[in-house]
Structures are given as C-alpha cells and as structure tokens.
C-alpha cells in the first residue's frame, strides 16, 4: 500500500475528564472517498474536527504525505489543504453565489475596489467544473438547500483543499440532489482529491465510498473496503456484540406491547409542513407510548412541534379525540390537552427563577384566576419534587443551580399536576446520566399506565427502544416504517432508518 495521504496514529482527546477518543488510528488514501460511521457520541465528529484544525490539544500523531503536522486553527488546516463542510452551512444567504464562493478573499483591484466581473466569471467557471449550472449573481438564499451545500463545497474546493470533510451532507437533500452530490464527489476523486464522508445514512455511504471506518465509544472498531461488506456488517460493527459498556445495547429482541383496544386520542392524517416532513399519518391510543425515531434532520423534531401548535402544518389534519383541530398556537394546544417537552432545556425552563415558578407556569391558569397563590404553587411543586425524586428537594431553589437531569425532571413536572391527554417528549433522555435516565423512563412508563398517550421523539435508538410500545421510523421527512407488534432490535431499527 502506498503512503496514505493522511494518517492519524493513536489519537486521544478528552473534554473535561470525558475521553472522547481513546487511541484512534485512521488512514486516508489519495483519491479515495472514505465513509465514516458510528452512533451519536462515538467520536466521529471529534476526530474530524481534529483533522480540520478545530480542536487542538490532542494526543497522538497526524501526518500528511508522511510529514507530521499539528494544526492550531482551521486556517492552518485549510492552508495544508484540508477543508470541512459542516452540517450547518456557513453560507451568507443574502449575498450572491459568487460572493459566497469568494467569501473572505474577493479579488481586489488597484484602489481596493472589489473586481465584480472577475469574481462572477471565476465563480461561474468553478461551479461549471463541478457540473453546476448556476448564475453566480443569484442570491444564494433563493436556491434549494442541496445547491447551497454544493456551493459551499465549491468554496472549500476553491480554497485549494485536497482533503474534503463532509459532515452529514445528505440528510437535507432530495434523492436527485444526492445524485448530484455523488457525481461531484466522483469527479473530485478522478482529480485525485480525497473525501471523508460522515453520515448516518448507511445506504448513501455504501453507494459512494471506497472504504468505511466504523467508530464506537471513542474507538475505531473496524475498517474495510466497501466492495467486501454490506449494511448488516456495518450495523453489527456499530452496535458491537461484546457489550463492555454499562448501558444495555439492545442487540436482542425487545417485545413491543401495543394496546390496539384503547381509544385513539390523537391521529395525524397526511400531515405535512413545508420542507420538514410530509404525508405523516398515525394514531396514538390512550395508555400507549409511540416512539418516533429518525436521524438528525429527518423531520421528527419539527413533527413534535407541529403536534404542539408551534409549527403550523400546511397539509393534512390533526384529529383529537375524533374532532379535527387546527392548533393556532401553543396555548390552543395546551387547551386541547397536549403537553410538550422540547429537546433543549434552555428552551423550556427559566434558569433564574425558582423551581416552583418553573413547575407551575403551565398550570398557573388552573390554580389562579387573577391573584397568584405562591404557597399553593410551592405545595404543588413539593408534591412533584417527591414524585420525581428531584434534587435538591426545595421548591425555592434556583432552577439554574440544579443538575441537568434534575432540570429535565422539572420540565416534565410542569405538565404532571394536571396531566394532559397527550404528552409529546422530544429527546427526553439526551445528555443524562444513567440514573437520571432510569428515573425518566420510569416516570414516562407510569404516566402511560395512568392512561396518557405519550409520543417520544428521538435520534437515539436506545431512548425509543427503552420506552416505546410502537415505533415509527422517519427517514428524510416521511414515515419509512412502523414496528407495531412482535419484537424489535436495535439493528432492525437502524436498518429501517
């Protein structure tokens, strides 16, 4: 084998005591498309950010064409020919395509003026080389997202990158856009440039890559040429068979306990919202937990917001207990008996207010008409503190002084004094330690047993698997599969996504 274009040996990196990478080797050949897969938190992104110079201060060695390098910044990495296209695009929507391609290095004339004609001409040439027929004077924000992404890629290439890192490039793209991206990647390969392709979409990875590296728990667990492997092998490597970690790994079958007899509380019929999701239909019955699983950007986060009246659907209907309802805002959703806990604690809690004000805000209209009753609020909160095992057990503690897991419980607590009919939870266990996770699972199950209909939306397979009685898998904005009876395992879930 020739000397790799990029080689990483024994890379380690920790963040405040948590080891994100535990001695990882990685090699990238010239003219290679290299797929990188692994679950959330496996270390893929950390590794790529080290390569792209975003993270410095790691252990181990990195060489390019056999010469050792040590980047202090993304600028260093770019100078050495490494460019990264992040999942969140860094284009400026209100500037033209040409300005975006030349961002930060516009051609300057003799008296410091921007040379527009040169810029437009060269940007046009650059884009045509990638097979993109776009007028460089178009405002970039008016173009489809796939084209924006390719233009950002063009900018990275234009800066002379030989190694291009693409983080989850296909999640927001339609199938023809994915095709276009792939043909660009193949063209780059013919030029001898290399691509590292991070994605959760194993089908996409296997279609375009030459080689695949699998990460798990901060380690590289396998690598192989794509010609000799299939999707099942990759999933097996991602999940692992020897469970050395604390968490259950859900390789075995988990029984699903759907209750088809209970009445339908909420039903979605062909629900769609602009470019987030489309044609989503499902029923939720009382006393049932419906899990909705999908990768980041597959529309399930927006679906949850639509169920709570935050995003207005532009297609289809939402039926609550047999009556079609149009939820004009979140207050209307609350009035209709729907509760929602979003994925980010920051967007549901008041950090500078005491716990009791956080816990009472959603039911304030039930406990007071005009005058506040702070003592009553504290009593109610104290009951929830006991029921949910919130630490410290003081209704007057400032919310910001609680740990993340306890804050999450407060976010749940605010809906529980007057339980809703439908509880929508987005990422209910994200970033929690094992003990707090178990508490949340226990609480949600007991709510289900009291007859609530619960919707759990998550990008983490474990969350859905540990909670749901029935699972919908969303893929690029549509429901791809339903697991309703029998049993499910993590590999089957990942296979469906």
């Amino acid at each position: 084998m020739p000397t790799p274009l990029l080689e990483m040996i024994g890379i380690t990196k920790s963040f405040g005591g948590v080891q994100a990478l535990k001695g990882v080797d990685f090699a990238l050949q010239a003219g290679e498309i290299h797929g990188l897969v692994g679950e959330n938190g496996a270390g893929k992104s950390t590794m790529m950010k080290i390569i792209a110079g975003v993270h410095s201060g790691y252990g181990g060695r990195m060489t390019i064409e056999g010469r050792e390098v040590n980047f202090r910044s993304a600028r260093d990495a770019l100078a050495a020919g490494i460019g990264m296209v992040h999942q969140e695009l860094s284009i400026v929507p209100d500037l033209s395509v040409a300005e975006n391609v030349f961002l930060g290095k516009q051609p300057i004339g003799a008296v410091g003026q921007v040379r527009w004609s040169t810029m437009v001409r060269e940007a046009g040439e650059q884009l045509r080389k990638l097979g993109l027929d776009v007028d460089p004077r178009t405002r970039i924000g008016s173009l489809p997202i796939g084209l924006q992404q390719l233009i950002e890629l063009a900018r990275v290439l234009f800066s002379g990158a030989r190694i291009i890192i693409l983080d989850e490039p296909t999640s927001a793209l339609s199938p023809p856009e994915v095709e276009q991206l792939f043909s660009v990647l193949r063209a780059l390969k013919r030029e001898g440039r290399s691509t590292i392709f991070i994605s959760h979409f194993l089908d996409d990875i296997l279609r375009v890559s030459d080689a695949v590296t699998v990460f798990r728990n901060g380690r590289k667990v396998a690598d192989s040429a794509v010609s000799t492997i299939d999707k099942g092998w990759v999933i097996e490597q991602m999940i692992g068979v020897g469970h050395d970690d604390l968490e259950e790994s859900y390789t075995g079958a988990i029984p699903l306990a759907a209750k088809p007899s209970a009445p339908v509380v909420m039903a979605a019929r062909n629900l769609g919202a602009s470019r987030f999701f489309r044609d989503v239909s499902f029923d939720i019955r009382a006393g049932e937990i419906l899990g909705i699983y999908g990768f980041m950007g597959c529309g399930q986060v927006e679906l949850a917001r639509t169920l709570f009246g935050k995003i207005a659907p532009d297609h289809g209907t939402l039926v609550l207990e047999g009556t079609p309802r149009r939820l004009r805002n979140t207050a209307a959703a609350k009035g209709a008996g729907i509760a929602f806990v979003p994925e980010s604690r920051r967007s549901m809690l008041f950090h500078h207010e005491p716990v009791y004000k956080n816990a009472s805000i959603a039911i304030l209209d039930r406990i007071s008409r005009l005058w506040l009753k702070p003592m009553r609020e504290r009593e109610i909160t104290q009951v929830q503190i006991g029921a949910l095992n919130i630490r410290p057990p003081r209704a007057d503690a400032l919310l910001g002084s609680l740990s993340g897991g306890n804050q999450q419980k407060v976010a749940l607590a605010k809906w529980l004094t007057h339980p809703p009919k439908v509880l929508v939870l987005s990422e209910p266990t994200r970033g929690m330690d094992v003990g707090a996770k178990d508490d949340v699972v226990r609480i949600v199950r007991s709510l289900r047993d009291q007859g609530l209909a619960v919707v759990v939306v998550s990008t983490e397979p474990e969350t859905v698997l540990s909670l749901a009685d029935r699972i919908l898998v969303m893929k690029k904005g549509a429901i791809a599969r339903e697991f309703a009876d029998g049993s499910i395992s993590k590999d089957r879930l990942l296979e469906a996504a």
Partner: protein, 343 residues
C-alpha cells in the same frame, strides 16, 4: 455527567449574592451618592420644599415609566410613549371649549367625555402598536418608532400649530392642584406605581410578563399565549402615556406640539437606570422608582450647584451611559452564571 452534577451544586456566597443583586444595588448606590453630593454642594438642595419639587418634576415621567416597565420587562421597547402622551393631552384639550382666540376647530364635550375619549384614543394607539408587533411581526423598536410619528401627526392635526389652554376642570386639578400640601400629580404617580407593582408582583398576568421576558420560547412551550401578553403590555403602555399626557398638559398649563419631546428619553432612562434589564425578565417597579429618583435628583440637583448649564446636558448623558454599562454588565454576569448552572 456525574462529574458535572457535582460542579452544578449550588454554592451560595457573598460574591454570588452581590453578582445577582448588582442590578439592584448599583442604582441605589448611585442615588445615595447623588443625594449626598448635592446636599453637601448646595444648602438649598436638602429641604422639604425641594423634595416636593423633585417629586412633582418626576411625576409625568414616572407615570409613563410605569407602562414602559411592563414593556421593557417583556424585552420589548415603546418609543411612542412621549408622542402618545402629547397626542392625548392635546386630544383632551381638543374636546374642551377653548377661549375665542384659540382658533382650532375643536369639539367641546363635557369634561368626563373628553377624558374618556382621550384615554380611549391612547389605548387605541397602544393597540395599533400591539397588533403591529404580534400579528404582523414588526419589531417593537420600528413599530413604535412609526407610532411616534403617527401620534405626533395626530397632535399636529388637532392643534394646527396653535396652543390650547383649557382642559377639563378635573384634569386641571390633578395637574396643578394639591391636597394637604401634596400635589395631586404626585398622588397620581403614587397610585400608578402601587397598581403597577401589585399587578406585576401579585397577579397571574404579572407572572406571565416576567416569564415571557425571561425566556419567551420557554413561555411559549409552556402553553402561554405570548402574543396576548406582548400585546397587553403595549396597550398598558399606551394608556399610561395617555394619563401622563393629560396630567402633563394640565401641569404645564397648555397643550401644544412637541411639548413632551424630552420625556421619551427620560422615561426610558428611568426604567433602565433603575436596573430593569433591557433584555427582559428582570426588574420591577421598585427599580423604576429608584431610577426615577436618580433622574429627578440629578436634574434638580444640577440646578442647585454652580455649573455651566451646557455642561449639565453632557453630565446627564454620561450618567445614563454609566447606567447602561452597568445594565449590560449585570446581564453578562447573569448569563455566565446561567451557563454554569446549565451544565
């Protein structure tokens, strides 16, 4: 996570308390310093008569500032307060019969009707602000800037460059009369401050105002109708401005264009100097009272000391700047504390 759990345990300390209370302590300390300074610098400052003067001088500003406190607590702004006050003051004069030499085509009505019509007018102007912000989605800064011009236009149309002197008797009494030596206008201010404080502190609506200002997204995800709250505070601000305008016109003894121009800056300054956060969610009527006193003492005290009258404007500006620095700095301290709490 367990490591971070330990970090996030509460550690109450003097420094923590001071950081948290900075926005309350700093304005109060400023007020004390100003009072001590002017008392030493001028024998005529620290007298009972002058105290009454100061209170009267801050009354019109204060009534406007009560409404503004609601708006700023929500993280919004109302730039139309002074113009709405002016328009309302002129409107109440417009509906009162004027002396023959004031040749405006006015419509004389009974005093109570004039007052009610003028107040409804102020409420409607506030409502237009509210609809612009909540239904159309115009940022309050721009919406109320437009309203400032619209209200000024209403004023101009009503008086047509003239000066009206007559207002309903009851308004005259409130503006320039007194009871047991206390000017009615100060009593009116006290009523507004008390009602404002009670609404903000002890009612459900008040809680919603703080929550919407503290974290609008979280309020929305708790099923609070944030648009109704935002709209309501702008209507409240409009009505407060209207009352301030009527009292002001009676106090000045005339109704004319551009009479209230300096009151916009003063009322915003009173709220912000008092320590209410421009970003919303933090502050109170108590803060506004301190802010009003700082401004009142400063404006009044500078007249008692031998100082270049042109320099006074500069000094006022510098003190306002200092208050803004403290406001933003206090917010930053609070944010860093929040990030640590969030981990």
């Amino acid at each position: 996570m367990t490591v971070q759990d330990k970090i996030a345990m509460p550690r109450p300390s003097l420094g923590f308390w001071l950081r948290n209370q900075m926005r309350n302590v700093a304005p109060f300390a400023t007020l004390l310093c100003l009072v001590v300074f002017f008392s030493l610098a001028s024998p005529s400052f620290a007298t009972a008569d002058n105290l009454a003067n100061i209170l009267t001088q801050i009354s019109v500003t204060g009534i406007m500032a009560v409404g503004l406190t609601f708006v700023i607590l929500c993280g919004e702004i109302d730039l139309s307060v002074a113009a709405v006050a002016n328009a309302t003051g002129i409107a109440v004069a417009y509906f009162t019969s004027q002396e023959a030499y004031v040749s405006i085509a006015n419509i004389p009505l009974p005093g109570w009707a004039a007052i009610i019509l003028a107040l409804i007018g102020a409420g409607v102007l506030g409502l237009v602000n509210a609809l612009g912000l909540t239904l159309i989605g115009i940022p309050s800064f721009i919406m109320t800037l437009a309203m400032m011009q619209i209200a000024a236009g209403v004023s101009a149309m009503l008086v047509r460059g003239q000066i009206a002197y007559a207002v309903p008797d009851i308004v005259t009494t409130i503006g320039s009369g007194s009871i047991h030596g206390v000017p009615w206008i100060v009593v009116l201010l006290a009523c507004f401050l008390i009602v404002g404080h009670v609404v903000l502190t002890y009612t459900r609506f008040g809680r919603y105002v703080y929550m919407v200002g503290g974290n609008r997204e979280a309020a929305e995800y708790s099923g609070v109708n944030t648009k109704v709250i935002l709209g309501a505070v702008l209507v409240i601000s409009g009505v407060c401005s209207g009352v301030a305008g009527m009292a002001g016109v009676a106090h000045f003894g005339s109704a004319q264009q551009n009479e209230f121009d300096t009151y916009l800056l003063d009322s915003i300054a009173a709220v912000v100097v008092g320590g209410t956060s421009l970003f919303g969610g933090r502050g109170s009527i108590g803060n506004t009272i301190v802010g009003l006193c700082v401004l009142g003492v400063l404006n009044n005290g500078l007249d008692h000391v031998q100082i270049d009258s042109f320099l006074k404007i500069l000094i006022r500006g510098l003190i306002l700047l200092a208050a803004l620095v403290i406001n933003v700095y206090a917010q930053r301290l609070r944010d860093t504390a929040a990030v640590r709490g969030e981990v």
